[in-house]
Symmetry: C2
Subunit: 459 residues, 2 copies
């Protein structure tokens, strides 16, 4: 059958002719119609259609197995934007020092001009690497600035280290509950991810010993300070035991310090890396949580033997992070502006943490327990086992609050009666209101599901 | 044997005591000395030293095989900075519009404030993706902005695509001579790299057919316009044949357009992607060569089936590229400033290319041949087979010029009598002077090694 001319169709439908021409071409490309110059357009025979479609490349089969998604991949969809958000472990933009940062950027342009827009050294700007090293040395680490590599956020640092150390089929140990984007990343690099439980004193090194001998892991990944999601810090005595155990087992440690500067009482925590006697610890840090994420800058501190391999992989991955961003950042840090900013956000976030804990003490039913972090971004709530956080979530959103079900933070399921609450994205007043709402919701859920009930889905 | 106290050593050597304490601690950590509180510091017994050192982690063994370097890894070391540089295929900073870019950055701060410093969408800012799509459509591509993913330079785009499509042991086809950082990247991702020769009309698709059936490659990587290193463009007739062949063989094509906007005559070249009927082409582009590299921004255009996998891997790799940089860039582009800048650099670089070709016509001996690019950054020189470019390099540097030996651009050696000349980093006057020097050098080398000589190393 012959189709009407594109001119006729355009007139009939009140469209521009080029739209119709494009539609015809699309039909032709997909094999639905055939056309010859000056002959018009004809509906295809069925067999030519299937041939044309068979021509399209089968990319699904072309993907590496490890590139295929896992169940936890798409589970973090947030609720509508007008909710009181206890989700999202990212810094509050109302704290971002935009004006101060514009000033340092202007100054970089004034003093460096076009040279700030060139490629930079693969491993990062020397002065920024030096600043990172000095700061860690002040906290007890012994390291040389050569061991610091500037990366595009600590997630990239984690990716580079995984790519160097993990081959498909390898095992990696993580905290459980732990950092879900870490699990995804290790999985994307071909690793099997095994959880080691965290209790109120941090990682259980007694379980670690067993896991280390059972799985022959490539490394242990952990956040020793104000861990995401629980906010728990690894107790000092356990740090010693942990490092001894890793020494004996020859187990490398990847220490993620993404929020270690967000301590709300006492002194800055000492890095695990400072206790490393076997050059076994890789340390990750980032400006994303302590300042803002928009420049994508973080750092990786590696043992001397890994400097060159990491540098070469970073070179392959992106030729180095933004030179302009690094020059602005080191100016900002060297001026003391970061420390001043940190004093401010510690006040703000610390106040929000206290507001949340006070409100939970007041409004949450006694059957519910939670962590009491001394820093970081989030805390962890445990409901009676008969309640499901995932089932509670739609009702919480209806009532005006949002949170993250705890099962997201387990590498292989579990934690159905747990949840994560972030306390840094909302002001204190909204935190108090949200927790009051949440408390009422929990009480009514507990009344509907009295102790001893089956624990089935809550309707 | 007991060591003197740190206080005594500090006084004797005129050092701060904390320096000495740190030195002692280092000796202790490395097992050379032992110390007890209040007892002083003692030289260790030999066996405790070896035990302590044996404790250090063996990272070399821990590295994945593909992370180990290859011969071409460190071969691109440049000569001293005062040479006339025909090396370095990167844009000339004297062209960078630093002031104009500072203005758009200021405007982003004024209009968006802190929100420009947040995390951005993983796949990039919608307006920038739209701009890339519009630009490619104007050149004949049919694509949707959804297929565009903003990356941190086209090298990252190439890395993401390789990681999705290449598993250890796979094969990848490249142009020979071709882009050395591409070879390294594919190798780092576990692939074997196979060259398909390039002649004056571009990739030899007749050889490609054989290579495609012999190696079952995961994809063909090529630069169809102003290829690095030769400056050659794939002739139009070959493009049709190439795409037909890739269709028949089911061979994906990764098209690198890193310098396609640097055309010095005629109209902008049409992307291969515009001829893609099987959704088989992935396209890479970048701001690094056409504007400047300091923000690390580029783009990746993928068939619809790859959008989600690339997005997920980008999310794992770094959570997305800098939001601030993207907002500034799209403002710069939407204002027409990029097109105006391109008009300027095409004049500058085109003039340099003509200056170099004129000088080569005048000064180079007739036994030497070279390409005559119509755009891009570099051209390619072929010496008589008895001359070695690598042997010529030290004498060239002595004489005041620098170039890149051609063997660097071959995946498995060869090309010893070829070399790459970049013409975009030096002003015309220095180009003329450098080519005159080079011509004299070539003539004297040819005199020392008359036709029919053995072709051994030139002393």
């Amino acid at each position: 059958m012959k189709l009407p001319s594109s001119r006729d169709v355009a007139r009939q439908l009140g469209l521009q002719r080029k739209i119709v021409v494009r539609a015809y071409r699309l039909l032709q490309d997909e094999g639905w119609v055939t056309a010859g110059v000056g002959q018009g357009t004809f509906v295809s025979h069925a067999d030519s259609r299937s041939r044309a479609v068979g021509n399209g490349h089968d990319w699904t089969r072309a993907l590496r197995r490890s590139a295929r998604p896992r169940p936890w991949m798409n589970a973090t969809v947030a609720g509508p934007g007008d909710l009181i958000r206890f989700t999202g472990a990212t810094a509050d933009p109302s704290t971002f020092p935009a004006d101060a940062f514009r000033d340092v950027l202007d100054e970089v342009f004034r003093t460096m001009g076009a040279s700030a827009l060139e490629y930079g050294p693969t491993e990062g700007v020397a002065d920024l690497r030096g600043w990172v090293a000095e700061r860690l040395r002040a906290r007890g680490s012994e390291l040389n600035a050569d061991q610091v590599i500037i990366v595009s956020g600590s997630q990239q640092g984690l990716d580079l280290i995984s790519r160097l150390l993990v081959a498909p089929g390898d095992n990696v140990l993580v905290e459980e509950p732990g950092y879900a984007s870490g699990f995804r990343l290790f999985h994307a690099n071909g690793a099997s991810v095994h959880g080691v439980p965290v209790d109120e004193d941090g990682l259980r090194f007694d379980v670690l010993a067993d896991a280390a001998s059972r799985h022959s892991p490539r490394f242990l990944y952990l956040m020793p300070n104000f861990q995401n999601p629980t906010g728990i810090s690894l107790r000092e005595a356990r740090r010693v035991e942990l490092m001894d155990l890793c020494d004996r087992a020859g187990l490398p440690v990847v220490e993620d310090q993404f929020d270690s500067d967000l301590y709300y009482e006492g002194a800055p925590p000492r890095p695990l890396q400072a206790m490393d006697r076997g050059q076994r610890v890789v340390l990750l840090g980032s400006f994303s949580k302590i300042l803002f994420p928009g420049l994508r800058l973080g750092w990786l501190v590696v043992p001397p033997a890994l400097v060159q391999p990491v540098r070469e992989l970073k070179q392959m991955a992106d030729f180095g992070s933004s030179l302009l961003a690094q020059h602005a950042m080191v100016l900002y840090c060297r001026r003391g502006l970061l420390e001043r900013h940190l004093e401010g956000v510690r006040q703000v976030y610390g106040g929000r943490l206290r507001a949340m804990l006070d409100a939970m003490d007041r409004w949450f039913p006694p059957e519910v327990s939670w962590t009491r972090p001394k820093g970081g971004l989030t805390l962890w709530c445990t409901l009676p086992p008969r309640l499901s956080a995932a089932d509670l979530l739609p009702r919480a959103r209806e009532a005006g609050i949002d949170f993250s079900p705890g099962s997201l933070f387990h590498p292989s399921g579990g934690g159905g009666n747990t949840l994560r609450l972030s306390y840094i994205r909302e002001p204190e007043e909204r935190i108090r209101r949200g927790i009051e709402i949440f408390g009422a919701l929990l009480k009514s859920a507990l009344e509907r599901e009295p102790a001893g009930s089956s624990g089935g889905p809550m309707i």
